[in-house]
Symmetry: C2
Subunit: 342 residues, 2 copies
């Protein structure tokens, strides 16, 4: 009898905000024997990632769109239950590329790493030490080349990328770190995380004026997860030699491509010698272990705090994902699919 697993797949490409109808839970067979290089894991945790949004519809993105029937991809913490790969043995716990599924068949190539210790919770390896945290890290360290004294503005600041970015900035000697986020709960969290100020973009009538007031000397770095409307508002406020990290364009993902906001204030690229660069953290995979070790030290020292929201059971993953775009909660969305090993 064939082995089977359960997974959540794309039912139909989304137009605009994804809904419950975008997804479908189904059973799928697993192979009886593994091909050389393959590793079979049982999923302990998977995550709901805003970056997945771009792959649910058409249009250019950093990765090709998913097709109907494809498993929703994402990263997982899993326990190896079978291995045809000499580097991995049953019982080992790994972080790997996978998706919303009870089992992941690692094909032999792609992202997989052993979790080297249990100094922090296992779920952190697909959160603050996974793609969101590494995005914050390489966005600031490699793309923006952050240095002590920089003034840093972070948008979508209460999310796992933004909150981690602000805290890494502080730990890297930033003089001032301002977050853009909406609502008292997020503001309280960001102040707890050490942000110097928080601008509630929904509560102000003039975003530019509010951002100017929050950092009167301007911003050296804009770490942006929102998109063109936000970048356009900040370009005039950037300091000489400023860097714009295009980490995500969440607002634009949910807008039909030809109706998305545009950048008008590009004259500041020359006037203020600005640099803007797009970031896909998978380009930095080889540098993950060293960055993870350094960031892990910041977490243990209390310099980087972590907010997680845990959901129980694979079938709630679509709801956890849709929550991301409704602004009701914040923090990393982790779905617990299986038990942690002892």
């Amino acid at each position: 009898m064939a082995r089977s697993t359960r997974r959540i797949v794309l039912a139909a490409p989304a137009r605009g905000l994804p809904t419950a109808e975008t997804f479908r839970l189904e059973s799928a067979d697993l192979p009886d024997t593994l091909a050389p290089g393959q590793v079979l894991t049982r999923t302990i945790y998977c995550s709901a990632d805003p970056g997945t949004r771009a792959r649910l519809s058409d249009g250019p993105s950093y990765a090709p769109p998913l097709r109907a029937g494809d498993t929703i991809d994402g990263f997982c913490v899993g326990e190896v239950i079978e291995s045809a790969n000499e580097k991995f043995a049953p019982g080992e716990v790994v972080a790997l590329g996978g998706g919303w599924a009870e089992h992941v068949l690692f094909p032999g190539r792609g992202y997989i790493q052993k979790i080297p210790h249990r100094r922090v919770p296992l779920s952190y390896w697909i959160g603050v030490l996974g793609v969101p945290g590494m995005t914050a890290w390489f966005g600031l360290k490699r793309v923006a080349a952050i240095k002590p004294g920089d003034r840093v503005l972070v948008t979508s600041a209460a999310g796992p990328v933004g909150a981690t970015a602000g805290q890494i900035a502080k730990a890297s000697g930033a003089t001032r770190v301002v977050g853009v986020a909406s609502g008292a709960d997020k503001a309280a969290w960001l102040r707890e995380a050490g942000f110097d100020d928080v601008v509630d973009y929904k509560a102000v009538s003039d975003l530019g004026a509010a951002l100017r007031a929050a950092s009167p000397d301007g911003h050296d770095i804009l770490f942006d997860n929102v998109g063109n409307a936000m970048i356009d508002a900040v370009l005039p406020l950037m300091r000489m030699g400023g860097r714009v990290v295009v980490s995500g364009q969440t607002a634009d993902y949910n807008t039909p491509y030809d109706q998305a906001p545009a950048l008008h204030n590009t004259r500041y690229f020359i006037a203020s010698r600005l640099r803007m660069e797009g970031l896909v953290v998978f380009d930095d995979l080889r540098a993950f272990p060293a960055a993870q070790e350094e960031l892990c030290g910041m977490i243990e020292a209390g310099a980087v705090k972590v907010r997680e929201h845990k959901y129980q059971g694979l079938k709630v993953a679509p709801g956890a994902f849709i929550d991301l775009f409704q602004g009701s909660a914040f923090g990393r969305r982790i779905i617990q699919v299986g038990e942690e090993p002892r």
Copy 2:
């Protein structure tokens, strides 16, 4: 009796394209004695620079706007006729910041350099070895970090910045160099200068398709002197890790700020890991001599060719300048104001 000179000043800030009424020729006194550090030069050559355009109206630019009565600024080749600066002696020939004037009073601080040899024509020191050539050099070398094998697209390619950029790119090992320029004369010049292909933006119905056809594998570097409309057309055609050098926004300078084109295709920053950066070559002043020496070698070797248009007499400077924005001619505009020393 006071010494006097003649100069061309801003009569009234321009709205849109500058006209003859934008400028005024007037006499001005020169000091009887120089203050410590000052140097008085008689102008041999001055230039008409497109970058000056931004300073004739309001709005953000890399330099503050000129006010009515200010001398139109630019760079000059001059002969020192009086010096209160131990570094410069009468009879020496220098390139310096100055403007459209028969004499320049160097204030003791700012750009001035002795012209170290006569291996190339004196006028080159405010052309291919001056701001336009240095803009091409540092735009490619520092901002774009050009490397062998890169595919390079240059806009406003027939002008002194663009033509020099394309030739430096070729000399730096670029696999393919494509220029955007209008008209058969410019195309012929660019082919003579070694460009692999020329796209006439006025003669094609679909600029994006023409740019794709001219370099089917895409562009690693866009060296842009036009502005948002051009950059927006090229962003989808950039190769992974591409660099956009924002060298000038000539088209946008002549458009009221709120009507200028915008960037829509910003999704490619993440999708193609693009980097866009503004350039003001004055930031690189200290590195000019080494770059000039290297570029001078390329000129002497015939790897970089030069086109100049010489105008005679200070009073024709406004006409030479207005010509820049009417697309009728190309090449560096040099105004001969005085005789070369023997």
